[in-house]
């Protein structure tokens, strides 16, 4: 499963992304997670196919803009990360993992 995080510069999400891979591994889900900034995520989308794009809460005011980019590609889900699931800690990332699995089921 390929997951992309989008935040302002791609730096803070990298931490959460790393934690998410660990949590997914524990749940026997193979997840390929990458973090990008708002300026370069579209190129990444063009080069590789993703299952889901997650928008960090601190740039939720730019969600529509990201969503419009994502909509150009077929079968990619685009969602906002709820703020309480964004910290790179075991507790919150577990919730985030379930949130992602739910979002992909729909």
């Amino acid at each position: 499963m390929k997951v992309m995080f989008v935040c302002a510069g791609g730096m803070s999400t990298a931490l959460t992304a790393k934690k998410l891979v660990e949590v997914a591994e524990k749940n026997q889900v193979e997840m390929d997670v990458i973090a990008r900034g708002t300026t370069d995520f579209m190129n990444e989308l063009q080069d590789h196919s993703y299952d889901i794009v997650l928008v960090a809460p601190q740039i939720r005011h730019r969600f529509k803009e990201v969503q419009a980019e994502v909509a150009k590609h077929e079968n990619v889900v685009c969602v906002k990360i709820p703020p309480n699931m964004y910290a790179p800690m075991e507790q919150s990332v577990k919730k985030l993992f379930e949130f992602i699995m739910d979002a992909l089921k729909k």
Binding site: T13, H61, P83, A87, M89, S92
Partner: protein
């Protein structure tokens, strides 16, 4: 309290965020951000030219003797940053209109250069462009002419007044033909304004801008963006990315003013270019959270606070604090929001006084924002050790301000944990 936060979210941060997402502002922001590597590398050359070493050392002597040559790479990079910004702004804006980005960038550079009609000829070299206007001082002219050029391009193309090539022609060739009419329009209009009417772009814009530049360097001018940014973060929105898109052009002018003065061997005029905020206020990230992260990592009793502190400590030392902002959370947390808003104000005031009294050197180098505080402060002031000391003192101030609120927070977490 909840009502207040709802109000903040709906009535303050959303409209402001939408303003920051406005097409032209976004293009300006992206265009200027694209020049940051050029500004960072360019300003580092100033360290080479003015090494922070005793003046009697051989290397300092050598730098002094060859200063003109050493500064040349700086002159071709940061010194003319508005030229680069013009291209970036034109590119981003035309992209946002789904027009050809390269044409938009070129048109913008052209329009910007056409504000500078060369009047001086140097024998053996031809005409000379006054480079001083291509720097931070020309930033607003670059913004205006870039937006203007792209808007003309859009209007001309929309009106259908363009040369369309048959389909067999390669698209890159077709695009350059399509750009012919907009280019002609921009050249004609700019020639009329600058040459025929003799409009002094740079003089008029500088005069109009002077009060803003002056205000942004006052104490109040520092406190307004600082407080707005923490207010945005209070609702969990990236404050710097919103406020910065409006304030950064001005901060860039201040930085360029200091850098250019330093390169010319003159006294630096400004206290608060962006590095001032970065190294004396946003230590550990917006909200000056370095104090909180240190307390959480080393003084917390509750399990959650301790583990949050350990997770957030390393990123915090490099001024990344999203783990803390969303982990504690600070967002919409009535206890932690108080020091989050107060600490930057107090620290900014101390740093402002210290700088204006000359106790620390003025900032003039743009160092990468992910450097640990004291190192960044040392570099930003061109190697003033007192700036590093001030940074460490301010970290102490942050610890003191956060302490009582950290205690309350830790106690709350501890109670939750014992309940479980």
């Amino acid at each position: 309290m909840d009502k207040f936060f709802l109000f903040l979210e709906e009535k303050v941060s959303e409209p402001m965020a939408r303003l920051a997402e406005q097409r032209h502002l976004r293009a300006v922001r992206d265009g200027i951000v694209a020049t940051l590597p050029i500004i960072i590398v360019g300003s580092f050359i100033l360290i080479l030219a003015f090494p922070p070493l005793p003046p009697e050392w051989a290397i300092s002597q050598w730098a002094k003797a060859n200063i003109g040559t050493i500064l040349l790479p700086y002159r071709m990079t940061m010194y003319i940053m508005s030229l680069y910004a013009a291209w970036g702004i034109g590119y981003s804006l035309s992209k946002s209109y789904k027009l050809d980005g390269v044409s938009g960038g070129n048109l913008s550079v052209m329009a910007f250069l056409m504000t500078l009609m060369p009047k001086i000829a140097i024998e053996g070299f031809g005409l000379a462009i006054p480079m001083g206007f291509l720097g931070g001082g020309g930033m607003f002219v670059a913004i205006i002419t870039s937006i203007f050029a792209v808007e003309i391009m859009r209007l001309v193309l929309k009106s259908g007044f363009k040369i369309t090539m048959p389909e067999q022609v390669p698209s890159s060739v077709a695009r350059s033909f399509e750009a012919l009419t907009p280019t002609a329009a921009v050249v004609i209009i700019m020639t009329l304004i600058t040459i025929v009417f003799g409009f002094d772009w740079h003089g008029v814009v500088a005069a109009g801008l002077a009060p803003f530049v002056k205000t942004s360097d006052t104490w109040i001018g520092v406190m307004i963006p600082v407080s707005l940014i923490t207010l945005f973060w209070s609702a969990g929105i990236h404050g710097v990315s919103v406020v910065g898109s409006v304030a950064r052009p001005i901060w860039t002018i201040l930085l360029d003013g200091n850098t250019a003065a330093h390169a010319a061997g003159e006294a630096m005029p400004y206290i608060a270019p962006e590095p001032f905020y970065q190294w004396f206020i946003w230590i550990g990230g917006a909200g000056a959270t370095i104090g909180l992260v240190l307390l959480l990592a080393f003084a917390a009793k509750s399990k959650y606070a301790k583990s949050l502190g350990r997770t957030a400590l390393a990123p915090g030392l490099f001024n990344i604090n999203e783990p803390l902002i969303f982990g504690a959370p600070i967002v919409l947390n009535p206890i932690l929001l108080i020091p989050f808003i107060i600490a930057p104000v107090v620290m900014g005031t101390i740093a402002y006084i210290a700088t204006s009294l000359g106790m620390v050197g003025k900032v003039f180098i743009l160092a990468p924002w992910t450097l640990p505080g004291p190192i960044g402060a040392y570099i930003a002031t061109g190697g003033d050790w007192r700036a590093a000391v001030l940074n460490v003192i301010l970290i102490g101030v942050s610890v003191v301000i956060y302490y009582p609120f950290f205690k309350m927070y830790d106690k709350q977490q501890l109670e939750l944990e014992t309940q479980e």
